[in-house]
């Protein structure tokens, strides 16, 4: 709250145009840190998957056991039968270092964001959909708006479909990604075995981790498409400077 006042004071002093505060500094900074982190996690995660592009269910799984599914890509290990007659270079070392380092940044950023979101009531005001927004009529109206490619903002805030999607990403997908990541750690599960047993095993956790990352990529693509649809310049300006300003 204090942040948005400070930002709007500052920008009004510089450029006396019609502007309304949109995203607080906390939201903008954590948004861009998380965006960068996700890119790093995605690239390093793909490199890690390439060393064994087979997925299993339960506790165990290796090239001698039947897979749940196999990605039709070459591997960076000669021991994996892929159907390709070449082996990609091993990139697992730095990929793992980078993946876990960035995971820490995401955890700290997420904690900071969560505390700020509760303290400033950002979640309540801007993120969690209200009861009236979740009414069938309201949902139907917003879905119709989206189908006509004219999604409506909600008086300087998010519409109900945005609220549902962002809430799922922030409160379900990211925490689950961290949880299933930790469930693959033999040291962490030695102290907290339930982290992995609830998923039915270490290989199940790995498979779920993979599907969560797929869902997050789908979210990212739709998110970018919607930003373009709503006006790339205005939306980017809002997430960078914190203020809404119509393009003239």
């Amino acid at each position: 709250m204090a942040d948005s006042t400070w930002v709007s004071d500052l920008t009004t002093a510089v450029r006396p145009a019609v502007k309304t505060p949109r995203h607080t500094a906390v939201v903008r900074v954590t948004h861009w840190i998380t965006a960068l982190c996700f890119l790093a996690l995605l690239v390093s995660g793909m490199e890690i998957v390439i060393s064994h592009p087979r997925f299993y269910w339960g506790e165990e799984g290796n090239v001698l056991t039947p897979p749940l599914f196999v990605l039709p890509i070459p591997a960076s290990r000669g021991s994996v039968p892929t159907g390709y007659n070449y082996v990609l270079p091993d990139q697992n070392g730095w990929s793992r270092y980078l993946h876990f380092q960035v995971a820490w940044v995401v955890v700290f950023t997420g904690l900071f964001y969560a505390i700020a979101g509760i303290v400033t009531r950002h979640f309540q005001k801007n993120l969690l959909p209200s009861g009236t927004q979740l009414s069938p009529a309201s949902l139907a109206r917003e879905i119709a708006n989206h189908l006509r490619l004219k999604p409506q903002g909600d008086a300087g805030s998010y519409n109900v479909l945005q609220r549902i999607t962002y809430s799922l990403v922030i409160f379900v997908l990211f925490p689950l990604a961290i949880w299933t990541g930790l469930a693959m750690s033999p040291a962490v599960t030695s102290t907290f075995p339930f982290l992995v047993t609830v998923f039915g095993g270490q290989q199940s956790a790995r498979t779920i981790h993979f599907f969560i990352s797929i869902l997050l990529v789908v979210f990212l693509l739709v998110h970018i498409a919607m930003v373009c649809l709503a006006g790339f310049r205005t939306r980017m300006r809002a997430m960078v400077t914190g203020t809404d300003q119509e393009d003239t």
Binding site: M184, A187, T189
Partner: protein
Amino acid sequence: MSNPSRRKWIVSGLAMAAGGSGLAVAARIAGDYGLIPPDHGGIYGPGETLTYASQRLLTRHSLAREFPRSKISKAPFANGRPPESTEYTSLQTAGFADWKLAIDGMVGRPASLSLAELKSLPSRSQITHLACEEGWSFIAEWTGVPLAHVLDAAGILPQSKYVVYFSIQPGWWDSVDMADALHPQNLVTYGMNGGELPPGHGGPLRLRVPRQLGYKSVKYITRLTVTDSLKGFGKGLGSGAPEAGYSWYAGI
């Protein structure tokens, strides 16, 4: 205008100084408590140190998950083939009767134990998961002498901080801190699923470190060295793994 902004600068300067010295104190304490991994340098050092320190604080004495006999994998994948050196093959021809495990470094009684001598020591069997950093895994029953027992017999000196272990394969070596070295599940392993440890899985002798990923469980071990510093080994990063781009600590 200048007053509040100057106050802001002073306050943020003080905060940064406090933060900086706080970090320095934290690093000092972390070092004293053995929470800094040997590969803490470089751009991935902060993440590596956070992972190692937090997992050490949370998992120092915890036991790796053990499984019922019914969970033993019917298809344990042996990654790679046994060494083809004449040193190994001639030992194998003689049924590994002359295989020796040397224990040296910071110990009161350096020793060289044969397989038969190791098998006469109190043994432990456990059914644990072996997960490779690549993503695959299997579950097997492992039988061997707890490393802690071998170290006790050799009488480790109080200043010991790490145990370095070497394979008969050139370039294969690794190390664990004392929390892992003295952990009851870390076995000098000679048996698997009720039989001898097959050469593909590291037979005749493999150090099993079940709370870390597979690459810490070095195959064909011939020597244990107890030390208070990893500086003199390889590039001083604790194992061959960081030299190949992999982290020394593999609890995740």
